[in-house]
Structure formats: C-alpha cells, structure tokens
C-alpha cells in the first residue's frame, strides 16, 4: 500500500469523554499500516498527555501510559500547541516525557513532543492527506 500523511487531531480532555482513549486506540492500530503518522494536541487536547495522571478517584482506567508506547511503534511526531498550553497555565514540564529512538542516529533517544505555535500547527495541518478528528 502507498504511504499517506495521517494526522490525528486531539482537542478534548481525557476521561470526561471517551474520545481521547478511542483516538489513542486508532493511533496504535495505524502503526501497523506503515503510514506517515502525526498527532496534534490543541485546545483541551493537551490534557491528554499531562504527567502524573491518577484516575483512582474516578473509577476509570488510566490509559496515559499507553502514549509512552507510541515511540516504540515509530509514532514520534506529537505536535503540541504552545498557545493551548499557555492558556491553561501549563508548560512542557507538565507533559509526559514521550520519546523515540532514532535508528539513523545510533538509536539515540529523542523527544517525540514538538512544541509549535498556532501558526506552525496550521502549517503542519495544511500538509496532511487524511485528518481524523476526535
């Protein structure tokens, strides 16, 4: 099969609705198809990858650790919007340390999180061929 640029756009907080969890399930499946996959975290979507999520108080499964597996599946482009973080009083320090290993650079561990401005995010979005929104 040919390779396409897929983007998964995440705009909603986790746990309040199912979209974050079921979006992550699609992303993991997409890894099997050898496509050029990117994730966008904008607006409340940035809460999906915050550090230290603890769901014991609400009776739901904490699925945030699954984001850490993305790098192992060669999904290493997680675009996070600076403006969305700032509006919510968050910085990159509040996000999980998501990494991948670069095969072409002696398996050096690199961050999967790409902080971008809204304008840069728009440019990334404009390059996509298939955009799935949740």
């Amino acid at each position: 099969m040919s390779s396409k640029k897929f983007m998964f756009v995440n705009r909603k907080a986790p746990y309040g609705t199912v979209y974050a969890l079921e979006s992550l399930e699609v992303v993991l499946i997409s890894a099997a198809f050898d496509q050029d996959v990117s994730l966008a975290f904008i607006d409340d979507g940035v809460y999906q990858i915050t550090n230290g999520q603890d769901t014991t108080g609400i009776g739901q499964k904490n699925f945030s650790k699954a984001y850490k597996a993305l790098g192992d599946y060669d999904i290493s482009k997680l675009y996070v919007e600076k403006e969305s973080l700032a509006e919510r009083g968050l910085t990159q320090d509040d996000l999980m340390d998501l990494v991948w290993e670069d095969e072409d650079d002696d398996w050096a561990e690199k961050s999967s999180i790409i902080l971008v401005s809204r304008e840069e995010m728009a440019a990334v979005m404009a390059e996509q061929e298939v955009t799935l929104s949740f």
Binding site: Y15, G16, T17, V18, I58, G59, Q60, K61
Partner: protein
Amino acid sequence: MKYTVMINEGPYQHQSSDTALQFVRAALEKGHEIFRVFFYHDGVNNGTRLSVPPADDRLLQKEWSELGIKHGLDLVICIAAAQRRGLMDESEAKRQGLDADNIIEGFRISGLGQLIEGGIQSDRTIVFGD
C-alpha cells in the same frame, strides 16, 4: 434525604454515567435514600446487557445493574428515548414485533412522568449529562 438522579448520556462516551454511579454509591453510604434513577436521552444505553468491554475496563451497565439489585434501586429507562435508540425489554420487544431484547436485570422501562414524579417526591433532584 431523598434523591432522584437523572442521567442523560450513555456509558463510556461521556463521564456522566461514571460520575452518577459514584455519586449514588456515596449517597447510599451516607444513608440517604435514592428514590429513583431516571435514564433519559442516550442515558438509556446504560441499561443494555450486551456490553462486553475489555477485561481491564469497567463494565458500567453491570455496575448499575448490581448496585440497583443490591440496594433495591428503582432504575427507570425512559420508554420514548429507549424506543428511538433500540433498548427493549421482553414485553416491549414482543409488543413491537421484535425478535430480541437487550435490557439488563434491575432496570425497568417506563414513561417520562416517572421523572417528574421523582422531582416532586424527592428532596433533591440531580442531573448528570453532557
């Protein structure tokens, strides 16, 4: 104190069913009475017995069912909302000429008047939804 609880969303899609479940449990633990739990809109989907989520996920429909049976709760599914969305008990399925039903034990199907009556009879009416 006597409560009626209204739930407007189905399980999983929105947290409201989870929150309502925790709220009802906490109210019962404090000795309050749950006069009725009324499932409206997509909330009726909390009453299906055909759900089989992944083993590591909660099974909300069963948790409601078991809590209801244990405490003798009146778990009411709105009939009009249920008909639109395909939630059926045995007698309603028969009446509609359908070949299957899907309601879980502990729930019953009834009319919207049950919600208003709940509001009248209870000290507090709490709405959970989207």
